[in-house]
């Protein structure tokens, strides 16, 4: 098991957002998490990545055999967790290359490896640039500063390629993208799929899933996964909207 979430409850400023999430992910699987606004999708991503404002009040998360909730955010990353941010952050004066190099070498240090020298690093970058089709000029610019929405998201996928995570969470990576940018980003993600890597795709919409073809689709409503299925579920949601699920739930509750 790559990731095992059991009965996860989390709150922010005393307000309960996640109310008992259960989710198992095997290596190589792609899971989509869908749900209406405010259902807790991004909170789940933040809690898994270890964002401090969120308090885990109950439950457990095991990541590759380790108790993930005990690890600092940076150690989670070094253990192989990657979060593609919905809103990637600008850091003025820090070039994308320098930022990624620091990240790569921090991870290597954690695993007792020597830092990568400039030549090896550039070689790796070149490989990954081709893989995810990122504009090279972005790499010498300050990270995310003045990047368009599409450039920011592509840069996230590029970082994912460079850091080679065991588990990647894509938090609404499709938001704010036009159809061309979406296709390029999806293509990049598809190239990064392999039999060992797990991927969680958080999205509102079906269109990204058309490209990514997830193995499983989960519907998150009000802090709980209320329905799980295959990609057919995503299509059904697209067609009928989230209300049909909500109706279904209230119906079940009524019985």
């Amino acid at each position: 098991m790559l990731l095992s979430i059991k009965n996860l409850h989390a709150s922010i400023e005393g307000k309960q957002i996640l109310k008992g999430i259960n989710l198992d992910i095997q290596p190589g699987e792609v899971h989509a998490i869908m749900g209406p606004n405010g259902s807790g999708k991004s909170t789940l991503a933040s809690v898994l990545a270890g964002r401090e404002e969120y308090e885990v009040t109950e439950g457990s998360v095991e990541f590759d055999g380790k108790n993930m909730l005990e690890l600092s955010p940076e150690d989670r990353s070094r253990e192989g967790l990657f979060l593609a941010f919905q809103y990637p952050v600008e850091i003025p004066g820090v070039s994308t290359t320098n930022f990624i190099k620091t990240a790569v070498n921090e991870k290597r240090k954690y695993h007792g490896q020597e830092p990568m020298d400039a030549v090896a690093f550039l070689k790796l970058m070149k490989q990954k640039i081709e893989l995810v089709e990122i504009d090279k000029s972005l790499l010498s610019r300050s990270i995310n500063e003045g990047f368009s929405g599409g450039e920011k998201k592509r840069n996230e996928i590029f970082q994912m390629a460079m850091l080679e995570p065991k588990l990647a969470i894509l938090d609404e990576t499709d938001s704010g993208l036009d159809i061309d940018a979406l296709r390029i980003v999806a293509k990049g993600v598809n190239k990064l799929r392999n039999s060992e890597r797990g991927i969680i795709v958080i999205t509102h919409y079906q269109r990204l899933l058309d490209y990514l073809q997830p193995d499983f689709v989960h519907v998150l409503v009000n802090g709980r996964i209320v329905k799980s299925g295959t990609k057919a579920l995503a299509l059904e949601l697209e067609e009928k909207g989230y209300d049909f699920i909500k109706d279904e739930i209230s119906l079940t509750a009524a019985l």
Partner: protein
Amino acid sequence: MEEELKMLEETVASDYKYGFVTDIDTDVIPKGLSEDVIRLISLKKNEPEWMLEWRLKAYKHWLKMEEPKWPNVKYPEINYQDVIYYAAPKKKPKVNSLDEVDPELLKTFEKLGISLGEQKRLTGVAVDVVMDSVSVATSFKEQLSEIGVIFCSISEAIQNHPDLVKKYMGSVVPMTDNYFAALNSAVFTDGSFCYIPKGVRCPMELSTYFRINTENAGQFERTLIIAEDEAYVSYLEGCTAPMRDENQLHAAVVELIAKEKAEIKYSTVQNWYPGDENGRGGIYNFVTKRGICAGNYSKISWTQVETGSSITWKYPSVILKGDNSIGEFYSVALTNNFQQADTGTKMIHLGKNTKSRIVSKGISAGRSQNSYRGLVRAGKNALNARNYSQCDSLLLGDKCGAHTFPYIESKNKTAVIEHEATTSKIGEDQLFYCEQRGIDAETAVALIVTGFAKEVMNQLPMEFAVEAQKLLAISLEGSVG
């Protein structure tokens, strides 16, 4: 987080790695300041009569002056009778040889990363080192003298080049200029002297390394750099001091003279002991630095990275007298714990078509206070004078302060003066973004700060840039919270 913060704080105390004391035989005169002490200093340095008279004149003037109270810094009153005005390592090398330098002294500078052995030198850097009150060694003197460049201690210059010293010393910073300049003029002990003759481009970086070693000793150095017509020189200055519980006084004067089409680039990495995390000890760094673009088309550029000292009071300035001359000031001032900095520049436009550029980056952490104070003045003949100033402040935490005091005086309608200022905080979002990529908070802060200061760091010569970048990171350790 509280715990993390505490842990980080504990690492701070040991961060000043230059805090050791060298056990060396030192010639120290008793504490206190009087005409007799000045006579004694002058005698010890075997100075000519005119130099002594100059000192005494400055001293008499100083007695009538008052310590400036306008800087945005607070410190207990200084007892000037409680300071040692002269301390010198006893074994002094002869002028052109390093062989007789006390091995203990050589070791000290090796520890500081400065090799005095010329074979082991940094490529392309000539060094003059000043310990307490005297210059202990200058490298590459001979090679430089072959092309007419004079690079020696100011004491030697007084002996060997009295005409140059007489002509230029005090010509940019008069002895009456301010309280600390007057004090320095009375009691200065050593410093560097550089003279670049007409048309010579100095082939190597000239550098002085200042070290305070003796307890209770003040350091009063004086540096004088003259670039004749079409000459060029790049000069670097570095400084450190042992960790001590009491404050020590450092009051220097630096004067630069650039003649027609000459260029002087002056870089400082100031890393005096900043005091401990409770604000105990540290150097009072009260410095007057000023250059004059005396000739047309001349240029003076100041670059400073200020991370040390418990209190910094300095305004490296340029008087733009020559037409079409250029003045620049690039500064990174970082304060942590209880440090206070009040620093900036003055750009005095007198000539026509003169240009100046000010880029100041202030970084405040801990409970420190960081002020930028700058004056841009365009005189009535400064036709088409241009200035651009940019002052950015970065705050780490909520207990520190950043302040900006820009003064603009324009007496010429054609002058254009622009000022931009920003204040920002390192955001939680930035930190979390870094952490999610495996970069811990401390490394992230160093990364963000280095990015913030990049524009200034890029101005430093290569030899200093790496050191300065590390210094920023080290000075910030423990400031995350």
